[in-house]
């Protein structure tokens, strides 16, 4: 479709959901976009999975046409948490996947957003492989630079197997960057943190929803996050339903972030972006791993005076209460990017010094902060602030590192039979896994136990 001045231009971004989590995120995003009549932020999409039943459920639930889905792999029952299988299947079915993408018209796009979970099998293993084949297809075969952003969802608390997969996944994605065959930006979305945000903002609704879905009274449960079971290693139906219920809660929040992140690249009538921001800018200006903070419907009252203080209050709230992964009150981010959107009276570029000043307590010394003001002509438009903090301190990563280490230690030892678990369950050796954990720990300056 050709863009005109009046009609919003279709962004040159293609979305791929891989695995159950990733596909659901894409499906939910599409459904939300339809229901809220949002301007299209993506050019096309594809949901791929190695599990037939997941594919069928996805189609049914989100009304996704068959051509936008793809089943691949050696069997149609998924990878069962074995990321190596997930990784290999993508390579094995590279032609099929690329063929399907071609049919959907992905040629000429400038970037891909890949939705996945960091703890599963199909998505966790498949995402790095998918990036590899995409980079190979465009950069190596066509000589054209593309940007691949990965939105990866960290597992819930106490899901040890998922924690181990996450280590491998993050290591693989970041190491790929070194060879220019990895993700340009990895956005970490923590299920745990997002659930907490939702619980804090919409406590009543969440309780009702969970009561309806799971027949549990959340009001009586102190640690809701800890209730999400692991479904990687052959989970039963109840556990799957339970995890699905929680995922359904957090997915819309994750998608709002995606929507805001892609917004600068989408042209809409009456909308101005200053400075002009491309999707590539995030990758260029930010560290490889970012944690988003989204504060929607910001309360800014210009008529009430004292704007610097109001903006300071806004930033403080965004960092401390709206991050998508727990980063505490002193994250010491290495880089930062912010999108401040709203009507012209609110999203004003002269606020930049105040916002930067307000961000100072949350960034490391010398960290660069890049602004982006998105103003709308409309009289009424919500004021939103999206912060992207590059490589902040993430206590949750430390938890994951510890859980993964414990799991490896559990199965390690001189007995070859015992060590056989690594190959059987994860498809790699113990050493590979330990190296992946080390990679993550070093990146976040964590000490291994």
């Amino acid at each position: 479709m050709e863009a005109t001045d009046d009609a919003p231009r279709i962004a040159e971004v293609f979305a791929i959901g891989i695995g159950e989590c990733g596909s659901n995120l894409v499906g939910a995003y599409l459904k939300q976009a339809r229901e809220r009549m949002l301007p299209p932020r993506i050019r096309g999409y594809l949901c791929i999975n190695t599990d037939r039943s997941d594919i069928l459920k996805l189609r049914h639930k989100y009304g996704i046409p068959k051509e936008n889905t793809l089943l691949y792999g050696a069997s149609d029952i998924g990878c069962g948490g074995n990321f190596t299988d997930g990784y290999n299947y993508v390579h094995d079915f590279k032609e099929v996947i690329m063929g399907q993408l071609t049919q959907l018209g992905f040629e000429g796009v400038s970037g891909f957003v890949i939705f996945t979970s960091s703890g599963g099998g199909t998505g966790c293993g498949g995402a790095p492989a998918l990036i590899e084949i995409l980079k190979e297809r465009f950069q190596e075969e066509e000589g054209r630079r593309i940007f691949v952003y990965v939105f990866t969802v960290l597992p819930f608390k106490d899901q040890t197997s998922e924690a181990l997969n996450t280590m491998w996944s993050l290591s693989k994605l970041l190491r790929g960057q070194l060879e220019d065959r990895g993700a340009d930006l990895v956005c970490l979305l923590s299920n745990r943190a997002m659930l907490r945000r939702i619980l804090a903002w919409r406590e009543g609704e969440v309780a009702d929803f969970l009561q309806r879905q799971l027949q549990i009274d959340v009001a009586k449960v102190t640690d809701v996050e800890g209730m999400v079971p692991s479904t990687v290693d052959g989970a039963d139906e109840i556990s799957k339903a339970q995890e699905s219920a929680f995922v359904e809660l957090v997915n819309p929040l994750a998608l709002r972030f995606v929507e805001h992140m892609l917004s600068p690249g989408v042209v809409e009538p009456g909308k101005e972006v200053f400075p002009t921001t491309d999707i590539a800018d995030y990758a260029r200006k930010l560290d490889p791993i970012v944690v988003p903070c989204l504060y929607t419907d910001v309360s800014l009252i210009p008529t009430a005076g004292n704007i610097p203080t109001q903006l300071k209050t806004m930033v403080k709230y965004a960092v401390e209460h709206c991050s998508f992964a727990e980063i505490g009150s002193e994250p010491g981010a290495s880089s930062a990017y912010y999108n401040f959107s709203g009507t012209r009276d609110y999203a004003r570029a002269e606020y930049d010094p105040h916002i930067k000043s307000a961000l100072r307590p949350y960034t490391a010394k010398g960290a660069a902060v890049t602004p982006c003001f998105i103003s709308y002509e409309e009289e009424v438009h919500p004021t939103d602030l999206l912060l992207l903090l590059g490589l902040p301190q993430i206590p949750e990563i430390a938890d994951l590192v510890n859980s993964a280490t414990e799991l490896v230690d559990l199965h390690a030892g001189p007995s070859p039979l015992r060590r056989g678990w690594f190959k059987k369950s994860k498809g790699v050796t113990e050493e590979v896994l330990r190296a992946a954990i080390r990679d993550v720990a070093e990146l976040f300056n964590l000490e291994l136990k």
Binding site: I301, T303, N306, T313
Partner: protein
């Protein structure tokens, strides 16, 4: 050689004689010799039987031989046994002789001759056969028998004499002094002595002699005692005789004199025999005195019984005391006197009893007299009083006579009273039967049970008669009252006719009243009935006359009034015409009184309700309608007092009589065209017309097109309506305008309510924080109105509209409210924006923290808000809202904890 059977028989007979004599001499013999002798006799009889059989048998027959043989063989045995019996008898006799030998000296002392005879008797030899011993022994026994008999007879006579003598003494002693019979047991116990044994006789003789000596030794003591006793008895008897005399018993003085003489003869040296002679004399005198007294007692008793019998009173009558017991035949003097005393007391008791019984009857009769239930009360009263007097003073004879009279009288009165009761009962039955035509059985009450003829006392009869009389009286009274009611009911039916029409019934009223008075005065049942029935019958004819009269009078009045009303253009509706027609056609002749009265009422009803009533009602309705209109006119501020008063005056004259009706209608017509009232009403109508004209635009703007159309229609009617000269028409249009004005004010109020409600909904939709905003306002209405928005002005205006009376005022308030609402909506949008900030400020608030900590946090939040926002209204609102929300969060947290 063995003796023959015949010889043995002979020996046996001799021994048997000896045995018999031995029995005479010695009395009962020991059994052994007796048995031995009987055995011999029995054996002899057996053998003698054999012998007889042998002699009758043929001499050479074996039987004879056998019998002879048996005889021959039996003879030695008999002989042996006979010998043994003989020896036993010899033994007996020897023993007896030995006993006599021992008594020989005593016998000699007792009777020398017999002693000598006994000495001469020697025991014979017992040697030799039966033929030798038995005859000698038989002689000896005969001699012994003779001597023994003489001796015994002499002894018996002497001992019996002694015994008799001793017993006479014991009897005498016992009579006077008493004696212990153990000291003289033989004499006391035996009446005579019959003993055969000589030895025993001698012993008894000796004992009797000793006992005689003992008795003789006590003679002096007996004499003293006997004397003393006799003396005492004489004195006692003399005293008793005195007592008897004091009781009016006639006892001859000679007896007392004789007793005195006996007393004088008692001396210290008197012998027992003398004393006993005196005792005998004394007994004779006592017997004489007793006999005298007994005969007098019997005479007394017979006299009493005769007196009672003269009045036919049995001495066994229940009201009499039981007679004293009969005097025993052997009663002594004291007993006799006591009996006489009892008899006298009995007589007194009999008198008392008869007096009491007579008084009881007199009392019964007195009660009857007092009740005055008997026809011959006066005579009876006199009789009762006389009898009563006699009874008080009279002796037994008088008493008995009075009793006899009174008893006869009460029987007589009883009969007469019973007859009277039967008459009353019959009357009662007659009343009951007759009264059923006007009295029901329940009202009359149950008839009393018939009075019993027998087994009823006179008093009960009197009471029953009194009750019955009362009952009869009550029944007559009931009957009278029933008739009174009946006639009063007839009267009442006339009296409900209004006095205006009652003149025609006056004669009839008087007639019935007179009959009622007559019944009231009547005592007799028959008289009541006669008067009542006659009055009842005549009432019908009199009623018919009265109706005829009434009809004539009403018809006359009606014709006159109707002609006047018709002259005033008043139409007479068909139902009234039909009533007039019906009135003229009513025929007074009736079958019953009730029918006649119904007709009378119908005449009155037709005339009063359907004819005069119609005109009155019409007039009243017209006055009322006018009165209401003028009252309403007064509410509009028009001075209508004078018209209201005129109306009231006209209303007060209602209902009017038929003669007055034409004048009343004329007065009402004048009121309906009052010029001053018309002028005032027109001015008011014009004023309201202008107000309503001014509101139509506003109503149209608020979608009340329908109301506006109706309003315009009304307004268009006004000019024409005001042109008429009729007060009612002008007032009606004026009222319609005023009502319309009221309705428009109400519509404005409704519009306000609906708009306010819709506005509330708009506010709720405008901001999701509306409930919090309301809570903030509710918590601080005054500060909120001052700093945020003047909510108080808005609510005051709404209240003011509710009470607004004037249409221009209501319109003004309504439009002002709309302006304020518009401003409030703008403010709400602003508040909505502000509200978003609360999430930020409350993010760190811990509702579950202790109160002090929560307060600290809230103070911190307030400080941060005030630092962030310099505008007073923004900062204040956010602080208030934060506090409200914090309170809600804390409350929820508490509830969650409780769960």
């Amino acid at each position: 050689m063995t003796a023959s059977l015949a010889e043995l028989r002979k020996h046996y007979s001799t021994l048997k004689d000896i045995n018999a004599k031995c029995r005479t001499i010695m009395g009962v013999l020991p059994s052994e010799p007796e048995t031995a002798l009987e055995d011999v006799g029995r054996e002899l009889v057996t053998l003698e039987g054999f012998d007889r059989d042998a002699k009758t048998s043929w001499s050479l027959s074996p039987k004879k031989r056998r019998l002879n043989k048996q005889i021959q063989e039996g003879l030695p045995q008999i002989e042996s046994n006979l010998s043994r019996a003989l020896q036993l008898h010899i033994g007996l006799l020897r023993t007896y002789m030995t006993e006599l030998e021992e008594l020989k000296a005593t016998i000699m002392t007792f009777d020398l001759k017999l002693g000598r005879d006994l000495n001469k008797l020697s025991f014979p030899s017992t040697q030799g056969g039966f033929s030798v011993v038995l005859p000698v022994l038989a002689r000896f026994v005969s001699n012994l028998e003779g001597i023994s008999k003489q001796l015994r007879d002499a002894l018996l006579k002497q001992t019996n004499d002694m015994l008799e003598q001793n017993r006479a003494l014991i009897k005498t002693y016992d009579r006077f002094v008493g004696i212990d019979t153990s000291d003289v047991s033989l004499s006391a116990e035996r009446e005579s002595i019959q003993v055969n044994n000589i030895t025993d006789l001698f012993e008894m003789r000796q004992t009797l002699r000793k006992e005689h000596e003992y008795l003789t030794s006590r003679r002096g003591e007996v004499v003293d005692t006997l004397r003393a006793k006799l003396e005492s008895s004489i004195e006692s008897t003399l005293s008793l005789l005195e007592t008897a005399r004091s009781l009016n018993l006639n006892v001859p003085m000679a007896i007392s004199t004789s007793l005195e003489a006996i007393k004088k003869q008692l001396k210290d040296d008197s012998s027992l025999t003398t004393l006993l002679g005196l005792v005998q004399q004394y007994d004779g005198q006592v017997l004489k005195a007793s006999s005298e007294i007994r005969s007098q007692i019997l005479e007394f008793e017979h006299g009493l019984n005769r007196t009672l019998a003269s009045a036919n009173i049995s001495n066994e009558a229940t009201f009499l005391p039981p007679p004293p017991p009969e005097i025993p035949k052997d009663a002594d003097l004291a007993t006799l006197i006591a009996s006489y005393e009892r008899l006298q007391a009995y007589k007194t008791n009999v008198e008392t009893a008869i007096r009491s019984e007579t008084m009881r009857i007199i009392d019964d009769l007195t009660r009857a007299v007092k009740r005055a239930v008997l026809p011959q009360t006066k005579e009876l009263d006199k009789f009762v009083k006389n009898s009563s007097k006699k009874v008080q003073k009279g002796d037994l004879k008088v008493l008995v006579k009075v009793y006899s009279e009174v008893a006869a009288r009460i029987i007589d009165e009883h009969g007469r009273l019973l007859a009277e009761i039967r008459t009353q009962e019959a009357l009662l039955t007659r009343i009951s039967e007759t009264a059923t035509t006007i009295l029901d059985k329940t009202t009359m009450g149950a008839a009393p049970a018939p009075v019993r003829s027998s087994d009823i006392t006179f008093t009960e009869l009197v009471e029953a008669f009194a009750r019955l009389s009362k009952h009869v009286e009550n029944r007559i009274d009931l009957f009278r009252k029933a008739w009174e009611r009946e006639l009063n009911a007839l009267l009442a039916e006339i009296q409900v006719i209004k006095p205006t029409y009652r003149e025609s019934f006056k004669t009839m009223e008087e007639f019935l009243e007179s009959a009622i008075t007559q019944i009231r005065a009547s005592k007799s049942f028959e008289e009541i009935e006669e008067v009542a029935r006659e009055a009842q019958g005549d009432a019908l004819y009199k009623a018919q006359d009265a109706i005829e009269n009434l009809k004539y009078r009403l018809d006359l009045k009606l014709r006159l009034a109707v002609s006047k009303l018709l002259g005033m253009n008043l139409t007479i509706p068909p139902e009234v015409q039909s009533a007039i027609q019906e009135l003229t056609t009513i025929v007074p002749a009736s079958e019953t009184y009730e029918e006649a009265i119904r007709k009378a009422h119908h005449v009155v009803e037709l005339f009063e309700k359907r004819i005069v009533g119609y005109f009155n009602q019409t007039l009243n309705e017209q006055i009322k309608a006018y009165s209401e209109l003028t009252s309403v006119a007064a509410t509009l501020g028009i001075n209508a007092d004078i018209y209201v008063k005129k109306c009231v005056k006209l209303q007060d004259k209602l209902p009017a009589t038929i003669e007055e009706l034409p004048d009343r209608f004329d007065e009402l017509r004048e009121l309906l065209t009052e010029a001053k009232l018309l002028k005032d009403l027109r001015a008011k109508a014009n004023e309201v017309w202008r107000n309503l004209n001014s509101v139509t635009d506003l109503l149209e703007r608020h979608g009340q097109a329908e109301i506006v159309i109706k309003l315009k229609e009304l307004l268009a009617r006004v000019p024409d309506a005001l042109e008429t000269e009729q007060v009612t028409t002008v007032l009606e249009i004026c009222m319609a305008l005023v009502e319309a004005q009221k309705s428009v004010i109400d519509i404005l109020r409704n519009m306000e309510q609906k708009t306010a409600k819709a506005f509330e909904g708009l506010l709720e939709n405008t901001t999701e924080y509306y409930s919090t905003i309301k809570r903030v306002y509710d918590a601080r209405p005054r500060e909120f109105s001052k700093i945020i928005f003047p909510m108080d002005t808005l609510s005051n205006l709404r209240e003011k509209l509710e009470t607004a009376n004037s249409l221009p005022e209501a319109i003004n308030i309504f439009t002002t409210i709309r302006d304020l609402e518009s401003q409030w909506l703008d403010k709400i949008k602003e508040l909505d924006e502000w509200h978003k900030a609360l999430r930020v400020f409350l993010a760190d608030y811990n509702p579950a923290a202790p109160k002090a900590e929560r307060n600290r946090q809230l103070n911190e939040i307030e400080k941060r808000i005030r630092e962030t926002y310099t505008r007073e209204d923004t900062a204040s609102y956010l602080v208030w809202a934060a506090r409200e929300l914090a309170a809600v969060m804390s409350e929820k947290s508490k509830k969650a904890k409780k769960k």
